[in-house]
């Protein structure tokens, strides 16, 4: 059935509970193909919400809500993620509507599902630890291309516990771990006092000697003002903003779909900070 859908841009694959990927796909639009053993299906997603699903369960083709409930009943599935453009999204939506596979997020939610008892991935389901049946690894990405579920017993995963489980993205990056690593790396530089990741006026993650949460609203105001420059001349994308004051510097730079705010003393080496900023992978590398 997926043959009739736009292929999109393949951005990676992983093993995870399906609900986990939705939680981390707030800005994603596209198609997620789902495989569980010999069975497979797909979920079309817009901004973290399912829009349509099908799932081939043996001889039976499940559609819409039935398919979705079936998919989220698996503790872990193989996911193949394809990003769509706006046009592809429209084409896929038309196909979903014509095939009766629509699943509206406004329909009553299924709520947390218990793990399926009939599912066996590999080995002795429910008994062996996850790292024996899945690709094991540490919290820090070490093997690009692999996906690691870190929980002790993947077979015991429910949708709720899955939300707390770290999963390494196909590029080898776990965005949460990456954020912590990056912030700590910056904080180790001489002169860096505090670092925060922020978006929409709120601090997402903040570390350092100075409390930055109350500064991010001002940082966002500066950022929005700076972006206005692009309305009066050709500038290209925003790279960074540095405010120098006698006591130090405030640096604002893009970080995936959010921004970094870095507070430093005057003696900071800006070259080192810019080097780290340049090392931040493009958002697409991490599937966002």
């Amino acid at each position: 059935m997926t043959d009739s859908l736009p292929p999109g841009i393949f951005i990676g694959e992983m093993e995870a509970p399906f609900k986990w990927i939705l939680i981390h796909a707030a800005r994603f639009q596209g198609l997620i193909r789902v495989k569980a053993g010999d069975e497979e299906g797909f979920v079309m997603v817009r901004k973290g919400e399912p829009m349509g699903c099908t799932f081939q369960r043996k001889e039976e083709l499940l559609k819409g809500k039935d398919a979705y409930l079936h998919i989220i009943g698996f503790p872990v599935v193989n996911l193949y993620i394809h990003r769509y453009t706006g046009d592809e999204m429209e084409a896929a939506t038309r196909f979903i509507q014509s095939s009766g596979a629509e699943y509206s997020p406004s329909e009553p939610g299924p709520g947390p599902q218990p793990p399926r008892e009939d599912v066996q991935i590999e080995g002795e389901a429910g008994k062996k630890e996850a790292h024996e049946t899945l690709k094991a690894g540490d919290a820090i990405p070490g093997q690009p291309g692999e996906v690691t579920v870190l929980s002790k017993k993947a077979m015991e995963l429910t949708a709720e516990t899955a939300e707390e489980t770290a999963v390494i993205l196909p590029s080898g990056l776990d965005t949460e771990n990456l954020a912590h690593l990056l912030l700590r790396r910056m904080l180790r530089l001489p002169g860096v006092q505090a670092v925060s990741i922020f978006g929409r006026g709120t601090s997402v993650l903040s570390i350092g000697k100075v409390e930055l949460d109350s500064l991010v609203v001002l940082a966002e105001d500066m950022l929005e003002a700076a972006k206005e420059i692009s309305t009066v001349m050709h500038t290209g994308p925003f790279v960074h903003l540095t405010l120098q004051i006698p006591a130090g510097k405030v640096i604002i730079a893009p970080y995936f779909n959010e921004y970094l705010c870095i507070l430093t003393s005057p003696e900071v080496n800006l070259g080192q900070i810019r080097k780290i900023l340049k090392d931040i992978p493009a958002a697409t590398d991490a599937g966002r």
């Binding site: 003002a225 700076a226 420059i229 009066v232 500038t235 290209g236 790279v239 540095t242 405010l243 120098q244």
Partner: protein, 115 residues
């Protein structure tokens, strides 16, 4: 008016435009880049400087030393002058920002005193 000083900054490698912005957000002096609408740019940059000043105040500082905004295709350096004026330089992205900001700060007091 500090035309000579502005000309000196404008002649630095990588500088595309030099503007002095008055406290009302208008152009006081302008040099270079004919394809850039100086008045509109001055108004927008005034807004950036105002927001930057708010941040500086929040951090317990009354003074901004410099604001540097980098885009892929260009960069802006702005420093405050006396009397609420600003000096703005627009540079190529590959310009030597270290050297330009040094020259900018070196001429800051002189330009300010001539306004």
């Amino acid at each position: 008016m500090p035309k000579n000083e502005l000309k000196r900054l404008f002649s630095l490698d990588g500088v595309r435009m030099a503007i002095i912005i008055d406290p009302e957000g208008g152009v006081s002096e302008e040099m270079g880049a004919e394809n850039i609408e100086g008045d509109q740019l001055a108004a927008v940059v005034s807004f950036v400087m105002a927001e930057s000043r708010a941040m500086a105040t929040r951090l317990g500082e009354e003074q901004i030393s410099m604001v540097f905004v980098e885009f892929r295709d260009m960069a802006l350096l702005s420093i405050p002058l006396d009397g609420g004026f600003f000096l703005l330089l627009i540079t190529h992205p590959t310009a030597n920002v270290g050297q330009i900001s040094y020259e900018l700060k070196k001429n800051q007091d002189l330009i300010g005193s001539l306004l």
